[in-house]
Chain length 259, copies 2
């Protein structure tokens, strides 16, 4: 069985999180796995197609209660929803904007409220805005399906959900990674130009993930510098620091008292 | 804290394992993270520069004892050493061949021997041979350093360590992923041609990892088909299978009795 030797960086969200290790994309999951190697385990808790209504029951299972002393600490948590919540009716993925806002606050309170069974004061939260929608690309993609599907997301609606994420971050005093604005600005604020950053009008491509990853790392460096990968040491020593004459002296480093 | 919701695919080895999420390489860590998303957590337990002598104390901490009932099950374990053990004297990384063989057997026995405190009969082990060395590339790389370093690995010596890995796999009846032979054959059995698969004469580049990943997945499909990613379902349901009228009915799936 896998012992707890490294704390955790948990990525919680929808398909844009789930797909963040896709080969060729240099997604943020892959890149975090690389830079946090031997420091934090990056756990993929991305759920394709999920909205916050469905995400909360999953989060109640993925995030341990504070009474579960043996569980690895979640040092950093990204919460990245909105792309599906912002679907328009009659999509079953649609979550009304007020409910979306309530859900995001609920997830944050689960982690940061001292009254919560999941209270985890050491978990740094990063709230991420959904990327802007390119309805031209999205419409073409959906019309190409068999059977063809009607447009399910609108530019302005997703923008409203992105704005709500920003407001929640301010109100709840957690860090914000504003992917919506960063990608929108990179596209010169022109919807069709978003095709450079989205592969189907909805999901980030390699260039889109590059913008997102840079924003994420910049935000960690600014808001939570103590958990930036450059500030965390290896759990097990670099091989040049091992005591070669008596290796065991330097290699037993994990406190297993809770085992 | 992070609850145990997914079992684990643990990658234990040296730098060739640690670096398996490096952006641009499509390494086997990244690719496994992608195909096992929502099925198994891929844990990087690669340790740059380590040999088996140093790896064993680390493994005793990374692999839980069978009395630690709350720990996630390790469903698949790759053990990939030899590249450093095969260093020639006076390198501190050198481990004599008989000791290397003894160490590999010890790691396997830790997991598979009913007498072991770490006994885990459900863990499928894959033993991996180190890649062949291109001494031309390696020599040039070491000579370019400041100060220049002498050649530390030889083609035939690493081959002997790779052969030993194969023998141990047969003796201990665990699956073998013979990267040494696969890369050697792809290079037309010509040492200089290995430059196509190695970036410095020692570490796999993208083409090298592609060969390794294909061999690994083929071996899982043949020897342990029940844990091939196509045979494992998502822990949490695909969104189209959620009961939209009463989502909680389908979304509470993790047995937390041990919590």
């Amino acid at each position: 069985m896998a012992a707890h030797v490294q704390d955790v960086f948990m990525l919680f969200g929808d398909s844009i999180t789930q797909g963040a290790w896709e080969p060729g994309l240099n997604g943020f999951g892959e890149r975090l796995s690389h830079v946090y190697a031997r420091k934090l385990d990056i756990l993929n808790r991305g759920l394709s197609g999920y909205n916050t209504d469905w995400g909360i029951p999953v989060f109640e299972q993925c995030f341990a209660k504070h009474t579960e002393k043996h569980a690895p600490k979640v040092r950093i948590l990204t919460i990245w929803f909105g792309a599906n919540d912002a679907c328009i009716k009659p999509s079953p993925q649609h979550v009304p904007l007020p409910k979306f806002i309530e859900n995001l606050k609920h997830i944050i309170d689960m982690v940061h409220s001292p009254e919560s069974a999941y209270y985890s004061p050491f978990t740094r939260i990063l709230l991420i805005t959904p990327p802007p929608i390119n309805t031209h690309q999205r419409k073409a993609d959906l019309e190409s399906r068999n059977p063809p599907l009607p447009l399910d997301r609108l530019f302005d609606i997703t923008k409203a959900y992105a704005d709500a994420v920003k407001d929640v971050a301010v109100e709840k005093k957690v860090a914000l990674v504003d992917v919506w604005s960063a990608v929108w600005e990179a596209a010169g604020k022109e919807e069709k130009a978003l095709a450079r950053f989205l592969n189907d009008g909805l999901h980030l491509n390699g260039e889109g993930y590059a913008i997102m990853y840079n924003e994420l790392v910049k935000t960690i460096a600014e808001i939570y510098p103590e958990v930036h990968y450059d500030k965390l040491g290896y759990v097990f020593p670099p091989w040049l620091e091992i005591n070669w004459d008596s290796p065991a002296d330097s290699l037993y480093v994990v406190n297993r008292e809770s085992a």
